[in-house]
Each structure stands twice: as C-alpha cells, then as structure tokens.
Symmetry: C2
Subunit: 353 residues, 2 copies
C-alpha cells in the first residue's frame, strides 16, 4: 500500500465524544421543544463530533467533481456517447452545468478533476489534472484497470482534498461525471453488498426495460470474468471500478483523516464510499448521505453503509448536485446549534413534565 | 364576506399554461438527462406557471410568522405554559429563534405578526400588530372566536402579505407560534378531512401517551360542542381555529391573488391551507409543501391538499423553519432552470434513442 493512503488510514479517528455531549447538552437548552429540529439536531451533533467542537458555520465549502471514462461503454450500456464526459467537463469549466449553478447558490466552490477522460485536456487553470489513463478498459473482457492504478486513483483523491485543505476547507461534497459509471458502480455494489446484479443495477440516464436488462447482463459478465474479491476493496476497484470512483474514495478518506465532514452524493459516490469504508470502517462516522437517488440500488447501498439520506427529491444527475443541497441542510443544522438563543438567554419558560 | 377577501378570491387565476410549456421545453434542452433533476424540474415548472414566465431567481424572500394564543390551553393539552407564545415573540424580535437563524442563512426576511397574543406588546418597529383579541376562547366550551373575528383574521393576513408585496416580495413562506395551536389545527383537520380526531391529533411539543389520549378527547369535545360545518370554512375557523391560523390562510390567499408562490410549513400552516383552499380551490396550484412534519396527522392533511412534501427531516418546530428550508430548495430549482447551459450552448451531445 502506498504511503499517503496508509498514513491517512491511521489518521481516521473516532468522533470526539466530549464535543458530542456538549452539542447534545446545548441542543437541549435552545429555545425549542427538545428534538423538534429532528435531523438538524442529529446532524449538528455529528458535526461537533467530527470537528471536535461546536462550530459557528462553514467558511469553505467545496464540491469535488471527478470525471473519468469507462471502457464498458463499448457494451452499449448508456444513452449518451462517451464524448459527453469530456464535453461536460468543459461545461463545468464554463460554469454551465447544474453543479455550477447549485454551487454558486450554496456558496461552495466546485473543484473539477480529470481522473482519466478519453481525449484529455489542455492545461486549464480550473481543471485539476490527476489523469490515470484515458478511461478504463472494458471490464467485461478483463480488469478495468491494474491494481497500481486503483491505488494511484485513491492517492490522487487524497492529494486533491489535501490541496483544498491547504486553501481552506470546512466541509466537502463529492460528485462525479463519467458516461458508463453507473455500470461500474453497480458491479462494485453487487460485490460489496453481496446483492445480485439486478438488484443494484438501475436505469442510469434513463434506459428502457430492454436496455436495463442488457445492462444487468453486462454487470454480471464483468463479475463473472473478473471475480473481484469482496474482502479486498482495491481488488474490487481495479477489476470493476473507475478512476473517478477511486479518486472519490480517496477524497473521503483524506477528508476524514483531517476531521472534515464529507457529504456524499448519489449512486457513484455511494460506490466510492463502499470501497473507502471497506478500507477504513471508521470513515463511516465522517460521512453524511445527501440524498436518496432515483437510481435503483442506491437504497441498498446506503443501507449497507448504515446511512440515512437527508433528501429524497428523485434526483439522479450526479456531478455533486445532491451533495451540494445536502451541504445546505448541514449548514442549517450547524447554524441553528451555534446561533439560537438558550431558554435562559431569551427568558423563555421551559416545558413542565 | 368582507371586501378584500372577496376581491382576492376573484383574483386567484389558473397557472399560466404557456409559461409551463416554455419551462418544460427549456428543461429538456438543459445539459442533463431528461428528468434527472427530479422534483427540482417539477418545481421550476410550477414556479414558471405561477409567475407567468421563467424567472431568474427570488430577490425578495419572506417568512411570515404569525403568533396567537389559544384558550384551549386551559384544558391541559400542552407541555409549555401559555406565556411561552409571548416570550417567543420577543425571541423572534431579538433574532434568537430557529426561524431567525434559518432566515439569515437562506436570505429571507422574517416578518413577525401578533395576531392575538395574551399580554400584548408595546409598539415595536419589527412587530406587525394585527391583534384580533388576547387569545381565542376555550373551544371545548363554545366557539374559539366569533365569525367576524375569523373574517378579520383572514383579512389581516391579506393585508400583511400586501404590505410585503409593496416592499418587494417574490416568494413567501408561512410560519406560526402559538402554544395550543396543534390542538386547534387537529380540530380543523378532523372537520375538513373527515378523519377521526385520533388520526389527526399528535404529540405537539412532545406529549406522552397519556397526555396525547387526553388531547384527543379535548379535540373531540371541541368538535362535539361546536359542530363546525365542514362546508363552511369560516365556520370551521371561528369555532375550532385560531387567529394565527386565519391570518396564515389570508397570507396564502393574498399571495396567490398576486401570483406569488407560497411555501407552507408544517401542521399549523397545513390547517390554514385547509381553510384557505376550501375558500379558493384554485389556491392549491400556488402552494408548495415544504416538509413532512413529525406531527402525526400532517401526512393525512397533505394528502387531502394533494401536496407532496419536499423534505422529511423529522422536524416539528413550526415558526416557518420547514418553509424556509423549502424556499432554499425552490430557489435551487428556479436557478437551475434559469442558469444551466443548453446542449447547444455547451456543445454537449444529446442522448441517442
């Protein structure tokens, strides 16, 4: 195992129980019936546990959107042609994609990372280049990548998040772009959750029943050919994963190693979380599931992770669009804990029991 | 029926079908798989229909939080003493309540209205006085208010929203404060939905089983004594309602009459919406249900209104705390429709079918 990964795995510590107690105690003193802010209270307490203290808010919010291509598109599992991955990266850089719009609204900067897009890019001031290769290989014919590339992808994700920490980072959301990446994510989900392919394979950008049935067969074929070892997450990532999925796993691990909360997006980020939590079970405490994607299989994946999504808006776009809305909810949670008056401060009578 | 109410009822028009078509057409041209923004797409189209055009965003966001007291607290249906209503109004004015914190975060101004709080208030620059009376009467012993007060409360709500329109108003959320107001709301919900009291009566601030059973009996007694006429919403409001509930119904009607979208909060706002939509069925198109409250009975109420909530965060605080988070989601919807690039603008390939 490479150096920065093994270091990060050692650095992921349990949540701070004193900060959790202090946050819970403060919640009970705020001017509202106990528990009446529901999941906002739960979130505010979790964030205190992650940060080790009750914080005032998030100054630096970042969405890391990682892009890469997938050789499995040759099997006809998508509605959009492969070049859309590259075209959408330009759309991100020009500020025209959904994640740009929502990032501006929520006040989060969007960091676009090329993890391995076919065609590549000229240097661009707003594009982080961590290219592993021009797309993965077709996983129905052998491993998607070699083991070293899987490790490199995770290390690249750690490096990306550490560079953002150097600039200032208080909360990070994960996002993806990669035509074909729901297919890879389904294969990862099937391997790690142990569920059959048809239970964790969905319509992606909007496949009809016939194409969905074909996609399930493709996922199954990739599993049969590669036999990924569910006890070895690097093996799973290399055989049926993707470069952006490995990168996102690295972002999660790197952030948690620095006590930074991670808001995970939908199905692809969820697959990355399966890899990352298999490497470091303690990571789970640092993860917040932003939303339940419309992609079938996401629910099973979140159940395996033990995470309850905050939102359920029938979204299935990726890019980090769910994560950025999730960050807005987490921010609401943190602000209420920090800024609400206590019963004593406000001179409000407490409940009688 | 008074003048401004009858005028408003005439002014609530169907949504603009041309704007809806234009919004749907634009959604299909934006750089994302069709439908992949889920409920954000649906919301953006609804807002276009309300406004009569595709808008760029909401400059003026307002939460109207209306406070009033309830005579039924004499029956022992609450954990908090009645003076908490008045104390919480001071907390709102001092910026220490949850709604203040969330309003600041979302960029919505919070308009606090005294609709009839026991004890009353000295004039305050940030408190709108529309006091109908110092709290309602105990509805287990007769009508909560006389019919003219019910009409006055609705008219007051219309006046409040029209004053905000004069200052600038693009979207409004509703909120409430009133110890005892879940009891009144349950009686309204039982009358208008036709469901039995025990199905629409919940724990409020956190009643235990014994106190909940007592509260159900109190609701039933109020219904038995008053026999509110479900076909006459003013009769229902006057017999088992509250001043803030009437006021909020007026806010909804007044906003819709001026083509302004209304994001409704939880159970109390929902009860107000039952009254308001009974007066003007066309109002429903202007309403957006922010969240599913943890208050049992809210689900039944939303089903009766035909509204699907955006959020489900186990919140049950009122004040407009759900509504303000709902406004943030609606804003995300509107911004994506307005600001995302089209396939043509971004040079992104469309799907093949």
């Amino acid at each position: 195992m490479n150096n920065s990964l093994s270091q990060v795995l050692r650095h992921i510590k349990p949540l701070d129980s004193k900060a959790i107690e202090a946050a819970q105690a403060r919640q009970n003193e705020l001017t509202k019936p106990r528990g009446s802010l529901g999941r906002l209270e739960e979130l505010s307490i979790k964030i205190a546990g992650i940060k080790g203290e009750i914080i005032r808010g998030f100054k630096h919010k970042v969405i890391v959107t990682m892009a890469a291509d997938h050789g499995v598109v040759e099997e006809g599992v998508t509605l959009y042609p492969q070049e859309v991955t590259r075209q959408m990266v330009f759309n991100f850089l020009n500020g025209g994609a959904a994640i740009n719009v929502l990032g501006r609204l929520v006040g989060a900067r969007v960091v676009v990372v090329d993890m391995g897009v076919v065609g590549g890019f000229e240097p661009h001031p707003n594009l982080v280049c961590k290219m592993i290769d021009f797309g993965t290989k077709d996983m129905t014919k052998g491993p998607a990548m070699i083991r070293q590339q899987a490790l490199d992808a995770i290390e690249a994700g750690i490096a990306v998040v550490e560079a953002e920490i150097a600039k200032g980072l208080d909360i990070v959301g994960t996002g993806d772009m990669g035509i074909g990446n729901t297919t890879a994510s389904s294969a990862i989900a099937a391997t790690i959750t142990g569920e059959p392919a048809e239970k964790v394979t969905g319509r992606g950008e909007g496949l009809d029943n016939e194409r969905l049935a074909h996609k399930v067969k493709v996922v199954q074929k990739a599993l049969d050919i590669n036999k990924p070892d569910s006890r070895d997450p690097i093996d799973v990532l290399s055989k049926v994963g993707g470069f952006e999925i490995g990168g996102l796993a690295g972002v999660m691990l790197g952030a948690a190693g620095h006590r930074i909360p991670v808001v995970i997006d939908g199905f692809i980020s969820g697959a990355a979380a399966l890899i990352a939590t298999a490497l470091a079970p303690g990571l789970k405490d640092y993860l917040i599931a932003a939303h339940l994607s419309a992609e079938s299989g996401h629910k099973i994946l979140l159940q395996h992770l033990g995470l309850t999504p905050l939102l359920s808006l029938e979204m299935r776009l990726g890019e980090g669009t769910g994560a950025v809305l999730g960050i807005a909810i987490v921010e609401a949670a943190v602000k209420t804990l920090a800024e609400m008056a206590t019963f004593t401060e406000a001179g409000v009578s407490k409940e009688k029991h």
